[in-house]
C-alpha cells in the first residue's frame, strides 16, 4: 500500500512553496485546485493549518526554541516547517489530538527523507506536549516590543517602528486585528446594476451577505465554496475589494466625462470603480508595467463589461510626454510594503528588510514625480498605499508637498462622516486595522495649483 497524500503533507508542501517565495493565497489556491476531489472539510483543514502556521510563525519558533537544543534557524527547512505546523496544531487546533499532531509530524519527516531526524522531531514535540504550560514568555514590563512580537508573531523591528509611530496601545490593537479572521469584502456595483437585485442574486445562491462598513455598497460575503461559482461574480456585478480601497474612488470623486490616469492599476479594481462612478462616460486609462499585469486588468474589464476603461502597458516611473498636463485626475496607488494587508497575506510581515524599505520609498517618489506631470492645471492627484508605514505615507506626502506645485485638499466632502477627523479635514487619511474596520490603508488628495 502507498499512503495516499494526506492533508498535512499537502499543507507542508504549500508552506514550503511559500518559504520559496510564493504568495500564500496563490499557493493555497493552486494546490487545492489540483485536489478538487478533497471534501470541503479537508480543504478547510489544510487552509487553516497553512494560514495559522504562517500567522503564528514567530511565536511557534519561540516555543520550539524553548524546548529544542538546536535553534530553529539552524534546522533544515522542511524539518523547521514540519515542527512549526505540528506546534500550531498542538496549541491552536483543539480538534487535533496532540498524539496525532506528533505522530503525523514524525511520519512526514520520514516521508521527506529525514529518516535520521525522526527521533529529534519526536523528542522535541513530545516535550512540548508534556510541558506546554511551562513556556515562559518575554515579560511585557521588561521589553514591551519583544513581548508583543512573540505574542502576536510580528517581527520586533516592525513592532518597534509602530510603537514609535502610533503608541503601544494602538499597536497592540492592530496586531490583534491582523490575527482576526475577516470575511471577504466585495464592492457591489451600483452602476449599471441595481444593488438590491445583486444582493438578492447572492442570497439566492446561498451566500451569507452582510452590510460592510463605511459605504452602502460594501458587502461582506461568506459561506460560499468558490467565487467563480457565483453568478454575481461571473456577470461582473461584484468586485472583490477591501472597503479602504473603495474609498479611493470616493476620494477621487470624478465628475462625469473626466479623463483619469491610474498609473499602477493592476488588477484594476480602483480604475473600474472610478469608471463606474462616471457611469460609462469619460475614460480611465488603467496602466501597469507589464503585459501580464495588463492582462489582469483586461480580464476584469471584460468581466465587468466596462466601456470607459482601457488597459495599457506603461512603466509608472518613465515619463510619458503624451500625457503631460492632460488628466483631470491621476491616481498613484503605488507599490508598497503592504503592511496594511498582513491580515490577508501573513507572509508579508516576514519579508521585510531595511534596504527594501528604502528602495520602496525611492520607487514611490519616482512614481509621484512622473504622475504629478500628468495632472492638468487645477487637476487632482490621489496618492494611496496599502501600508501603515510612516515613511511611505505621511513622509512621502510631506516630501511631495515641499517639492511640487500641489496642495492638500480636504477629504471630508467625499468620505462618510464617521471617518472625518483632523487629518481628513487637511486632506489625508491613515486607516489602521482594528482601529478602523478595514485593512491598513493611506489616502491623500492633492490639487494642482497651476
Amino acid at each position: 500500500m502507498i499512503n495516499g497524500i494526506n492533508d498535512r503533507e499537502l499543507a507542508l508542501n504549500i508552506l514550503l512553496d511559500i518559504e520559496n517565495g510564493e504568495h500564500s493565497d496563490i499557493a493555497v489556491r493552486e494546490t487545492l485546485s489540483k485536489h478538487q476531489f478533497l471534501p470541503k472539510q479537508e480543504r478547510a483543514f489544510i487552509t487553516r493549518l497553512v494560514e495559522g502556521t504562517l500567522e503564528y510563525q514567530l511565536q511557534l519558533d519561540y516555543i520550539i526554541d524553548f524546548y529544542s537544543n538546536i535553534s530553529v534557524d539552524k534546522m533544515k527547512l522542511p524539518i523547521r516547517v514540519i515542527l512549526r505546523s505540528a506546534v500550531y496544531q498542538i496549541f491552536y487546533m483543539d480538534s487535533v489530538p496532540d498524539s496525532a499532531a506528533v505522530n503525523e509530524a514524525v511520519r512526514l519527516a520520514q516521508k521527506k527523507g529525514f529518516f535520521n531526524l525522526k527521533s529529534f522531531v519526536n523528542g522535541v514535540l513530545r516535550s512540548i506536549v508534556r510541558e506546554k504550560d511551562k513556556v515562559t514568555w518575554p515579560l511585557r514590563e521588561m521589553d514591551p516590543a519583544r513581548h508583543l512580537s512573540v505574542r502576536y508573531s510580528m517581527p520586533e523591528e516592525l513592532v518597534k517602528e509602530w510603537i514609535e509611530a502610533y503608541g503601544e496601545e494602538k499597536t497592540e490593537t492592530m496586531l490583534a486585528a491582523f490575527l482576526e479572521e475577516r470575511p471577504v469584502t466585495v464592492r457591489c456595483r451600483t452602476y449599471p446594476w441595481d444593488p438590491a437585485l445583486v444582493r438578492k442574486s447572492l442570497e439566492d445562491q446561498g451566500v451569507h451577505v452582510e452590510q460592510g462598513p463605511y459605504l452602502p455598497y460594501a458587502l461582506r460575503i461568506s459561506g460560499y465554496d468558490h467565487l467563480r461559482t457565483l453568478d454575481a461574480f461571473v456577470k461582473g456585478k461584484i468586485q472583490v475589494q477591501d472597503v479602504s480601497s473603495m474609498l479611493v474612488a470616493e476620494a477621487a470623486a470624478p465628475e462625469k466625462g473626466s479623463y483619469v490616469i491610474d498609473v499602477c492599476a493592476a488588477p484594476g479594481g480602483k480604475s473600474l470603480h472610478i469608471a463606474d462612478k462616471m457611469e460609462g462616460t469619460g475614460m480611465v486609462e488603467a496602466r501597469d508595467v507589464s503585459e501580464y499585469k495588463k492582462g489582469l486588468i483586461e480580464e476584469n474589464i471584460a468581466r465587468l463589461n466596462s466601456i470607459n476603461v482601457q488597459a495599457k502597458v506603461r512603466d509608472a516611473t518613465v515619463f510619458d510626454a503624451e500625457s503631460e498636463c492632460r488628466a483631470d485626475i491621476v491616481l498613484a496607488d503605488v507599490p508598497c510594503s503592504g503592511y496594511g494587508v498582513i491580515g490577508h497575506k501573513p507572509e508579508i510581515k516576514y519579508r521585510r528588510s531595511a534596504a527594501g524599505q528604502e528602495e520602496l520609498v525611492i520607487l514611490q517618489r519616482s512614481i509621484l514625480n512622473t504622475a504629478a506631470e500628468y495632472v492638468k492645471s487645477r487637476g487632482v492627484l490621489i496618492y494611496s498605499t496599502c501600508t501603515i508605514s510612516r515613511a511611505e505615507n505621511e513622509e512621502n506626502m510631506m516630501w511631495f508637498l515641499n517639492s511640487h506645485p500641489f496642495r492638500l485638499e480636504s477629504l471630508d466632502p467625499y468620505l462618510p462622516e464617521e471617518l472625518h477627523c483632523e487629518s481628513t479635514g487637511l486632506g489625508y487619511l491613515q486607516m489602521l486595522p482594528g482601529i478602523h474596520d478595514s485593512d491598513g490603508f493611506f489616502i491623500a488628495r492633492f490639487r494642482r495649483n497651476f
Binding site: M1, I2, N3, G4, I5, G21, P78, K111, G113
Partner: protein, 162 residues
C-alpha cells in the same frame, strides 16, 4: 537481499487467493527480506507476497514505526470508520478514496511461527486491511468511492530549492 519486481494491475497473480505458510523455510525468510527491501525502495508502507508474484500468505508493513512481518494474518476485530485516500504499489501513479475501519486487531504468526496479536489505528489499520485484501486476490480499486485520480509523489526529499 534483492529487489523483486512489483506486479501491476492486470497481472492475474494479483487476483488469486494465497496459500497459507506451513513452515518458515529459508526461502520464506529471503522472501520477507526481499519484500521489505522492495517496499522501502518503492516508498510503500505495505506489501503483500502476491505483489511480487508469490501466492503465499505473507505481508510486510512499515507505517513509520518500524517493520511488521505478518505470516498467515487474520483480522480478529474491526471497528470505527475512516475515509481517505489510499494508493497501491501495484497501481502506480493513482490513488482513490476508500472507507476502512478506524481500528483493527490482527492475529498472525511471526518469523518463528509464534502467534502474535497486533492492533492498529488510522494508517496502520488501513494498511492491515489493504494488505490482507491482497491475500484474497482483492485490490483496493474495487472499493474506491468515486473516481481514481492521478497523483505525483514528487519532491521525495524536499532538499531541492529554487
Amino acid at each position: 537481499m534483492a529487489l523483486r519486481t512489483i506486479r501491476t494491475e492486470g497481472d492475474p497473480v494479483l487476483s488469486k487467493v494465497c496459500r497459507p505458510v506451513r513452515e518458515i523455510t529459508p526461502r520464506i525468510r529471503t522472501l520477507v527480506d526481499d519484500m521489505l527491501e522492495t517496499m522501502y525502495d518503492a516508498g510503500g508502507v505495505g506489501l503483500a507476497a502476491p505483489q511480487v508474484g508469490i501466492l503465499k500468505r505473507v505481508v510486510v508493513i512499515d507505517v513509520g514505526e518500524g517493520p511488521i512481518v505478518l505470516i498467515n494474518p487474520e483480522i480478529l476485530e474491526a471497528d470505527g470508520e475512516q475515509t481517505g485516500d489510499e494508493g497501491c504499489l501495484s497501481v502506480p501513479g493513482m490513488a482513490g478514496k476508500v472507507t476502512r475501519p478506524m481500528h483493527v486487531k490482527v492475529k498472525a504468526q511471526d518469523l518463528d511461527m509464534n502467534e502474535q496479536i497486533l492492533e492498529g489505528e488510522e494508517l496502520l489499520a488501513r494498511a492491515f486491511c489493504h494488505e490482507l485484501d491482497h491475500l484474497e486476490g482483492k485490490l483496493y480499486t474495487s472499493l474506491v468511492e468515486g473516481e481514481l485520480h492521478e497523483v505525483n509523489y514528487d519532491d521525495e526529499d524536499g532538499e531541492e530549492e529554487e
